[in-house]
């Protein structure tokens, strides 16, 4: 796993998002499932129960892919990164509206944008020989 940036990033990000998802429930006790005003995780990141579940699912997908194979990690990194990039753009224009069902705030956008850049960047740039390695067994 150490030789693959995609597996490394997927595993680390997956573990972090799983922890963040679990910790999120500690601050969303009285918060509605899709409330637009959520609790503050670590004092800055606004979350609601749906946001926590999304973190858990994304964390699980990344961790499983990271522990599985290079191709799986690369694929999940690009997909999750693209979703985060989309959320970083669209989510920005949902703040303050009833459509903000993930209770997103500015710090969430920062984290999502940074995560998106790293995940898509690693997914597109690293391990480009993964498919050839898989089919041709060159390594």
């Amino acid at each position: 796993m150490r030789s693959s940036p995609n597996r490394l990033v997927a595993t680390i990000f997956g573990a972090v998002y799983l922890v963040v998802g679990a910790l999120g429930f500690a601050v969303t006790g009285g918060v509605g499932f899709i409330a637009t005003e959520g609790g503050l995780l670590l004092g800055i990141f606004e979350v609601n129960p749906l946001h926590n579940i999304a973190h858990l699912l994304i964390g699980a997908a990344l961790l499983i892919a990271g522990l599985s194979s290079v191709v799986a990690a690369k694929t999940v990194n690009v997909i999750v990164g693209a979703v985060y990039l989309l959320l970083g753009i669209v989510g920005f224009f949902l703040v303050g509206t009833a459509l903000n069902i993930l209770a997103l705030n500015t710090f969430d956008h920062f984290l999502h944008l940074a995560s998106a850049i790293v995940l898509v960047g690693v997914g597109l740039a690293a391990d480009r020989t993964a498919k050839a390695d898989l089919s041709g067994r060159t390594v």
């Binding site: 753009i89 224009f93 303050g96 956008h109 940074a114 790293v118 898509v120 740039a125």
Partner: protein, 192 residues
């Protein structure tokens, strides 16, 4: 056993499925330029979206910004996939056009356009332009670019660009409209 190729051979024969000593990391070197292009593209899209609602010159510049922003996102992805700066000449032209379009929007709508967003986009576009210009400069050492990829560089670039882009997006016309939705009930008591 994996064969080891030299850097010169790797750049001369990129499409072949050769395996270097560090195949997994090869090609992630120019990570800061595409990341900057993504950041600039996002801000250009937000600025363009805000300018599209206006009329006259601002609308025209807004359309240009949307197109250039989308182009920046695609260029960043293509550069990461190829592991080198792609179409550098068009890259320089696109970044300069982005700066001009941003300045045009600011000149046409100085009150509605965020100087912070224009400045952030300008800085990021300048980074991309410098990377493209360096690629255009004839040099035997260019092949070195493909051999120094580091994950920490991508992390650093991502954090820096996100830190710059997030407040810039919030300062755009579209971002201000979004965050203002929660304050509609404010009434000025001084008027009858």
């Amino acid at each position: 056993m994996a064969s080891v190729i030299t850097t010169a051979e790797a750049t001369a024969d990129a499409p072949t499925r050769t395996v270097s000593a560090r195949p997994a990391l090869r090609g992630t070197a120019p990570s800061w330029a595409p990341v900057a292009a993504w950041g600039a593209g996002l801000v250009e899209l937000a600025l363009g979206a805000g300018a599209l609602t206006q009329g006259g010159a601002a609308r025209g510049a807004g359309i240009a910004l949307v197109v250039l922003g989308a182009g920046g996102l695609v260029w960043g992805a293509a550069t990461l996939v190829r592991g080198r700066i792609v179409v550098p000449r068009s890259g320089v032209a696109g970044t300069l056009a982005g700066i001009v379009a941003g300045a045009a929007v600011l000149a046409a709508q100085p009150v509605r356009t965020s100087v912070l967003a224009i400045a952030a986009a300008g800085v990021l576009l300048l980074v991309v332009a410098l990377a493209c210009a360096a690629e255009l400069r004839p040099s035997d050492e260019r092949a070195m670019d493909a051999a120094a990829p580091r994950l920490w560089l991508l992390f650093t670039a991502a954090v820096l660009v996100a830190a710059l882009v997030t407040p810039a997006l919030g300062a755009t016309e579209a971002g201000r409209h979004a965050t203002g939705h929660g304050t509609h009930g404010i009434v000025d008591p001084g008027h009858h």
